[in-house]
């Protein structure tokens, strides 16, 4: 017998007190979606089940009690911190869900400059941690575009990646230890060690679980020295994406670690660089950082590699540096974009995948061609590669379309999901991954079995083991 909304609220209030339980109808309605269905909030048209409450625990103990309560009473919970998710992971897929919001757990526990580690509770905004680190001449090295708004818990739960990952790695390379609470209320602390071989690396059960297995309450991440004075930028224009991918591969295979290595196709380049590019130009750009010696060697090495491709024309690095300084989201850009969408009904969406070097250009060309042929009302179709490895890279498809002839709540069905479907199909065909860093969420959950093949066994067993009653974020990763 499912609990009533009132009973759920009462149960939560008895754990955290009434002040930490939000039941404002307006806020609950707006919390029923994340950026995946953001048009619902922008146009104030809502179709998703409304959560019963948002609860803000103040410590790990409260999280454990909430999870025990939810597990016992079969209440679906949705872990959340900064609420910047883009794939539906925070949507309430079933009625009377409870959002467990970790924002009140916002203490920076320690910044250890000798052991190069920082510990923060789940609700600490990354920008706050980064600013504190910078005061000591250090950096987390993690800079997703959502940095001003995202919190540490969510960044770990989604296996996020930042703009400087080619040097610093993704969040999985940065996490040292963490604390997480499982559905039965089990609190687990994974200690901070540089490396160990004491069985499988259980951190990876937590990192990327997207709230489908546990609630992350605290994380420890590595720190790096910060040498902004040595930052160097490089840029070229070229006509062919294939060449761009080749250059990226050469840079990675030769062991260089620029913090940023990107190639933009003409559509995407036009959005950012039209003040110095032609309509058919791709843009190749790099940023190097580190000690003076490292930055210099990186820049020289990359320049040497690009010089092997005479079709690349250098651009003044000041263009790249100026553009880079303006890249992160902030509240003002988000609200301005919301108003632009309201007035024009023109929506910008992204889908990012990864694949090996042999496949990436093929995936890019085929998916792009199919989208242009099969999807109506497209106003821009392009993308860029922004995270490279020795054995492959990502492709970040970036596209805009006008929402025509349907209400804003139908945008996902008419445009977004069909486009995601095309990209996923072409990627899976060639052995790539359907999601590089945004998380599976609920949006790409329909493809999860194709993504995993036989290894799905491992994933689903984790779910059965840790969340036997299926109360953790129904619909995320594992389709409903």
């Amino acid at each position: 017998m499912p609990l009533s909304r009132e009973a759920i609220v009462e149960g939560l209030q008895s754990i955290v007190g009434p002040d930490a339980v939000v039941t404002d109808e307006r806020i609950l309605i707006e919390s029923s979606v994340d950026n995946f269905r953001k048009l619902q909030n922008i146009f104030d048209v809502h179709t998703m089940p409304v959560p019963a409450a948002i609860v803000l625990p103040k410590d790990t103990q409260q999280v454990a009690e909430i999870l025990r309560f939810a597990d016992k009473n079969l209440v679906n919970v949705i872990p959340r911190t900064g609420a910047t998710a883009t794939e539906g992971g925070l949507e309430s897929a079933v009625a009377d869900s409870v959002i467990i919001d970790g924002s009140a757990m916002n203490k920076v526990v320690s910044i250890d400059a000798y052991n190069m580690q920082a510990t923060a509770q789940c609700g600490v905004p990354l920008q706050v941690l980064e600013d504190l680190a910078r005061e000591q001449g250090l950096t987390t090295g993690h800079s997703p575009q959502s940095k001003p708004v995202a919190h540490m818990g969510g960044l770990v739960a989604t296996r996020s990646i930042g703009q400087f990952s080619t040097l610093y790695g993704g969040i999985e390379d940065m996490v040292v230890g963490l604390e997480a609470v499982f559905p039965g209320g089990q609190v687990t602390r994974i200690k901070n060690v540089p490396r160990r071989a004491a069985g499988p690396d259980i951190r990876h059960v937590v990192i990327g679980n997207e709230g489908a297995l546990c609630f992350i309450t605290e994380v420890t991440v590595k720190l790096f020295p910060y040498f902004p004075e040595n930052n160097a930028f490089l840029g070229w224009t070229l006509k062919d994406m294939k060449t761009g991918f080749e250059v990226l591969r050469d840079v990675m295979v030769n062991g260089y670690k620029p913090s940023v290595a990107r190639v933009y196709d003409p559509g995407d380049a036009g959005l950012h660089f039209s003040h110095f590019t032609a309509e058919d130009d791709c843009v190749l750009l790099f940023m190097a950082e580190g000690t003076a010696g490292i930055a210099k060697a990186t820049v020289e090495g990359i320049a040497e590699i690009v010089a092997q491709h005479p079709e690349c024309t250098p651009v003044d690095s000041a263009y790249i540096e100026t553009w880079f300084n303006d890249l992160c989201w902030d509240a003002s850009k988000i609200t301005a974009e919301d108003e632009r969408i309201r007035q024009t009904r023109n929506v910008n969406r992204t889908t990012e995948i990864s694949a090996d070097w042999s496949s990436i250009n093929d995936i890019y060309q085929t998916a792009k061609a199919r989208i242009l042929a099969e999807i109506p009302d497209i106003t821009m179709m392009g993308g860029h590669s922004s995270h490279s490895y020795i054995n492959g890279t990502n492709m970040y498809f970036n596209y805009f379309f006008n929402v025509v002839g349907v209400g804003p709540e139908e945008e996902t069905d008419k445009y977004y999901l069909p486009i995601i479907g095309i990209i996923c199909e072409e990627t899976l065909k060639r052995g790539g991954s359907i999601v590089h860093h945004h998380g599976i969420g609920k949006a790409r959950a329909p493809w999860i079995k194709d993504e995993y093949g036989s290894s799905y066994y491992v994933l689903e067993t984790l779910k059965k083991a840790f969340d036997p009653n299926g109360v953790m974020n129904v619909g995320t990763i594992f389709p409903k």
Partner: protein, 272 residues
């Protein structure tokens, strides 16, 4: 009705950092590296013109839409976009020189274009634009053409009989007036602030349509002489508007608010 909307592309000055506005920038800041944007009031004018044309569609007095920009090739991308959106006439006037602080020359070129080439009878353009922000181009154009000008236009609508009505938020309050053509509408803080976006299909349909580029000489405007008369600022300076900026202490919003009140605001608030 032949509608013409005029727009200006400028560097995105707000993308420059505070350090770029130094006293050393005697000729203005270095703007080479920042992107170019459409002046926000002109953007409203372009979208309002489109909406007006749509509203008049099917009326006895149909409207035909044209766009004009005075400047270099940085405007061409926007002109192609406007073609894709249904602007039949798309023209760039190349003045051969920057007219940042020469509203008189800009106005002369616009008026000459309207009178000699375009023969339009309704002109929409933003009420002001950077870097000069003189706010007089619409009035100077109107004066040259002998037309009235409605300032601070916030909305334009088509009436059932094909006439056009505009709302103006100027000195006397919010005023609505029916237009007698020809006239100039200087667009101010309109609620409509974003230009719609054409599809790739729309862009493809006009990909090979050329843009018209007209030189100042063809319009019989002597830009050089005009720039001598309108020399622009003889010098530029950055004004020091800094104040002490005493940072208020405290660990929480409440503590900070308390400290702010006790240490700085109490006597002031008691007086107010």
């Amino acid at each position: 009705m032949r509608i013409l909307a005029s727009f200006k592309i400028t560097p995105d000055y707000e993308a420059l950092r505070p350090a770029d506005w130094t006293a050393d920038a005697a000729d203005g800041p270095e703007t080479r590296y920042v992107r170019r944007i459409l002046n926000c009031f002109d953007e409203s004018a372009l979208e309002l013109a489109l909406r007006l044309t749509e509203a008049l569609d099917g009326h006895a007095v149909a409207a035909e839409l044209g766009a004009l920009s005075i400047g270099g090739p940085e405007a061409d991308g926007h002109l192609k976009t406007l073609q894709a959106l249904g602007y039949r006439r798309t023209t760039r006037v190349d003045a051969g020189a920057a007219l940042d602080f020469a509203p008189g020359v800009s106005a002369a070129l616009i008026a000459a274009f309207v009178r000699r080439v375009d023969r339009s009878d309704l002109l929409l353009l933003g009420s002001r634009s950077g870097p000069g922000d003189s706010g007089i181009v619409p009035f100077l154009v109107a004066e040259r053409l002998g037309w009235p000008c409605l300032p601070q236009v916030t909305d334009v609508e088509a009436l059932p009989n094909g006439r056009v009505r505009a709302t103006s938020a100027a000195d006397d309050g919010l005023v609505r007036a029916t237009l007698r053509l020809p006239c100039v509408l200087a667009v101010g803080n309109a609620a409509v602030s974003h230009l719609r976006v054409p599809t790739l299909t729309q862009r493809l349909a006009c990909r090979d349509r050329p843009l018209d580029v007209v030189g100042a000489a063809a319009l019989e405007v002597d830009v050089a002489a005009g720039l001598l008369r309108e020399a622009g600022p003889a010098s530029l300076e950055v004004i020091d508007r800094s104040r002490p900026g005493v940072v208020v202490g405290g660990a929480t919003p409440r503590e900070k608010a308390q400290a702010l009140y006790e240490e700085h605001l109490k006597p002031l608030l008691e007086m107010l």
